[in-house]
Point group: C2
């Protein structure tokens, strides 16, 4: 089964205690598809400026990621700059330049409308809604969001959520969205808004899956040397949706296994800056880590 | 297999957004043994003052908890008072009166020296070490500690750790003990100090088990109504050590199952103030929740 992702392709400038990169390739759609492409075909819908050298994405093309939906328009590509604290969990945004992303209006081709798995990366919920109006009959819609949209566009986000199967967000956003301190109760309130599953990202603590019947957690796969956490959430989503698209098992059991795949893909991503690790990653490395992780988690 | 616990029996005054209690029964040894007694015989070694009405512990006696090691000495019982923030995760200590606990010098009877499972609750590492010197040939020693001792008595704590099988502490204490921000790496550094397993408590995020070969996490069992988190860590330890003592399976598989038991016992404890919920708890309720939780966690 193939996946449609709508999100950003960007230049990231990142500083961590272990070094940094200037204007390296980033963006939610980039990280997501780099991770998901190991499991299923992916189509990207995104926008870049004329300053974007398309050969930066040649590693995705080699993995059969379809870039026909990557528009190039006049102007500069989306740029983000951030710096991580020594604990590698907290980060400060130093600069955000939406540039061409400010006027992004995703228009899906016939090919894109037919994709059965859809990942709405963390973009304006109005755009997420516009994408959902265009897709024909998706089998599974997974949506990411953040505090910025919960604060600024809650009504629109709520409308989008009513058409979403799985919502991915972090723990403080879970509380914020339904105004409840108790995470378990908050997750159930979100289920009442439409999604049949909520994935709560907890950074270094891993992630929790909540459905009507289950509550399941994966730790962050233990990486002894974290170099750059940027893109961890989108790599997680890539492994998560990628596994679901490959297995077509979207019941609770499938969702649990998807959590493990998500955690493993995120664990690779944080080992180097930008998408470097995902770019060099080999299938057998993923399989090896998945096997280790499943063994660790089995009881 | 039977368990020896050395820790505190105290009066706690607790305020939460949902109410409060004044001078209710508390203390690490109390919570621990209330939880562990569902799985294995427990002997308590602790101290109280003359102001302590021993019938407060009659529910433990009814569960065959041995209280022959509970000394009553002249003076007042240990008192603690605290208040929880609306998020129920952060708390402020309002008052600590060590009272008779300040001069506590645990002396084990012949009976206590022979207990095969030992839980050293969160007390001065010097006392923990003194207990370890007295036990004959323990099969498993589990030790709790906290930032206060890591800051104030690190050298003594390190000596104690060299004789401990499982160390339980929270995430920030894990980092602090070995001065490493990366939790996975920090846990492995702790393994190098002696313990063959580290249990990292993460509050509402659950807990993580790290051994030389495995990395396993349990979420906090989802409780929709948390009334008072006091004693959650000690109830967790009670379920954890209780399961190990009952099963005598202290390999990685047993430790994983023990984590699930710990999380379930903590989840009951937080449903009411003091030990009220553990006092009223029925075996079939535990079995029911364990079965649900194991089903949730299985992949």
């Amino acid at each position: 089964m193939s996946i449609l992702v709508v999100g950003s392709v960007a230049f990231d400038s990142v500083k961590t205690p272990f070094g940094g990169v200037e204007e390296a390739i980033g963006g939610s759609a980039t990280y997501f598809s780099a991770a998901a492409s190991f499991f299923a075909p992916v189509d990207i819908v995104a926008v870049v400026g004329q300053d974007f050298p398309h050969d930066l994405l040649s590693f995705l093309r080699q993995r059969d990621v379809d870039l026909s939906g990557l528009q190039t328009v006049e102007g500069r590509t989306f740029r983000w700059a951030g710096e991580y604290e020594p604990n590698m969990n907290d980060r400060r945004t130093l600069d955000t330049q939406l540039n061409v992303f400010a006027d992004f209006r995703p228009v899906l081709s016939d090919r894109h409308r037919e994709r059965p798995y859809v990942f709405l990366a963390n973009i304006d919920p109005e755009l997420q809604g516009r994408v959902l109006e265009q897709v024909a009959a998706p089998e599974l819609v997974v949506c990411d969001t953040m505090d910025f949209w919960i604060t600024g566009k809650k009504d629109v986000l709520m409308q989008t959520l009513s058409r979403v199967d799985v919502l991915i967000l972090n723990d403080s956003e879970t509380r914020q969205l339904v105004e409840d301190h108790n995470l378990a109760r908050a997750a159930h309130k979100i289920l009442a808004l439409g999604p049949r599953a909520v994935v709560i990202k907890r950074g270094e603590h891993g992630a929790t899956l909540v459905t009507g019947d289950t509550y399941f957690a994966v730790p962050a796969f233990p990486v002894l040397s974290v170099t750059d956490p940027t893109g961890a959430g989108d790599s997680f989503a890539g492994g998560f949706v990628g596994y679901l698209a490959r297995s077509a098992d979207t019941g609770d059991d499938g969702l649990k296994k998807a959590m493990v795949h998500g955690s493993v893909m995120a664990s690779f991503n944080v080992e180097d800056f930008s998408v470097r690790r995902l770019e060099m990653l080999m299938t057998h490395e993923i399989e090896h880590r998945l096997e280790r992780f499943f063994n660790m988690l089995r009881i």
